[in-house]
Symmetry: C2
């Protein structure tokens, strides 16, 4: 019996996956969680064979969750779910230690296949994802930078249109500090300006 855990903050997706799993008699649902924190804790306790993980959770990024699990040298297979079909996003999560990537508009069958394939020790990408990854070209060298909690916070406020001064006031820190973070972000994203950073971050689902 395969123990499957689901971590996703969308109730509808959760519901759908529940139904999918309960229709199979070789799998069982080992828990449903809506946040990364709760999910991580539960994985340690319940030790599921497979985790279906939404990579856009409110608290922790999917990549971070993967890294934390891999650091503990877990055998748990991680199949990531996402609506994002951009190369850098996919590669980023795979590099972080995910075993599979399935777009949310895939059919249930693909998820079942993904579970079996990853348990066999092979990675699994859904149809559409395979297509995307097999195309050579443009966005090839783009890496998704690792942003810190604070930097993410800064990006979110800046993307709302707040100026450096306003962000500083909101976070009770100096404008100089905010400027430092902005500079670091521009450098990390290898962007020409904060505007470009915001576009990339939005597109990659970081904010």
């Amino acid at each position: 019996m395969i123990k499957v855990m689901v971590i996703d903050d969308h109730p509808i997706v959760l519901e759908g996956l529940k139904n999918l799993l309960s229709s199979r008699d070789d799998m069982m649902l080992a828990g449903c969680f809506g946040t990364g924190k709760a999910g991580l804790k539960a994985i340690k306790e319940l030790e599921p064979n497979v985790v279906l993980l939404d990579i856009n959770l409110p608290d922790i990024s999917g990549a971070d969750i993967c890294r934390q699990l891999r650091r503990q040298d877990k055998e748990t297979r991680i199949i990531t779910l996402s609506i994002h079909n951009e190369r850098p996003v996919i590669r980023n999560i795979l590099q972080a230690g995910a075993n599979g990537y399935v777009l949310k508009n895939s059919v249930g069958e693909e998820i079942i296949t993904a579970i079996h394939t990853t348990l066999d020790g092979r990675p699994y990408l859904c149809r559409k994802t395979q297509e995307i990854m097999s195309q050579v070209g443009e966005g090839d060298l783009v890496e998704i930078p690792q942003v810190t909690r604070r930097e993410k916070e800064i990006m979110e406020l800046v993307s709302k249109g707040m100026t450096t001064g306003q962000v500083a006031a909101q976070l009770f820190i100096s404008t100089h500090t905010v400027e430092s973070h902005r500079k670091n972000l521009i450098e990390k994203f290898d962007a020409a300006s904060m505007t470009a950073v915001i576009k990339l971050a939005t597109r990659y689902g970081l904010i």
Copy 2:
């Protein structure tokens, strides 16, 4: 026999819809097009009963296509397809004259239901969309501004991180002109800065 036309620039989606329609004997495919321009022309000639329209086409925005069709007082039902599940996007396209809105991660059944419902003269929103639209709150008063071709161009270049001067050089226009466009965009989006504009535009699928 219901004549259904599909306008979508994603071959995979096109393929899926083709299969879906060919499996029904009360519907027929009245043409497949990958651009708004080709689609609009074809609608005038073929006069389909229903158009399945991706709202993010490379050349013309989905909302513009709806408006153009509605201006001609066509009876054609328009069912829009999209991956975007944001309130403003949905409301915008419905206001432009669409009869239905179906998220791309919906099942084929929903599309069939959408076709029948809209032909009965009623609007149709897919399950998820209904949920989103029935939630009251936050993004309620947000309208998606109507941007011109030129403004869109400016947004795209700015979002790449180009400065006003660089954009002007690229487009062979004066920096003053670029500044005017930026100002107009900020005003149209009711944003505090260009950064916020880019975020909104990215999120709404405008760029």
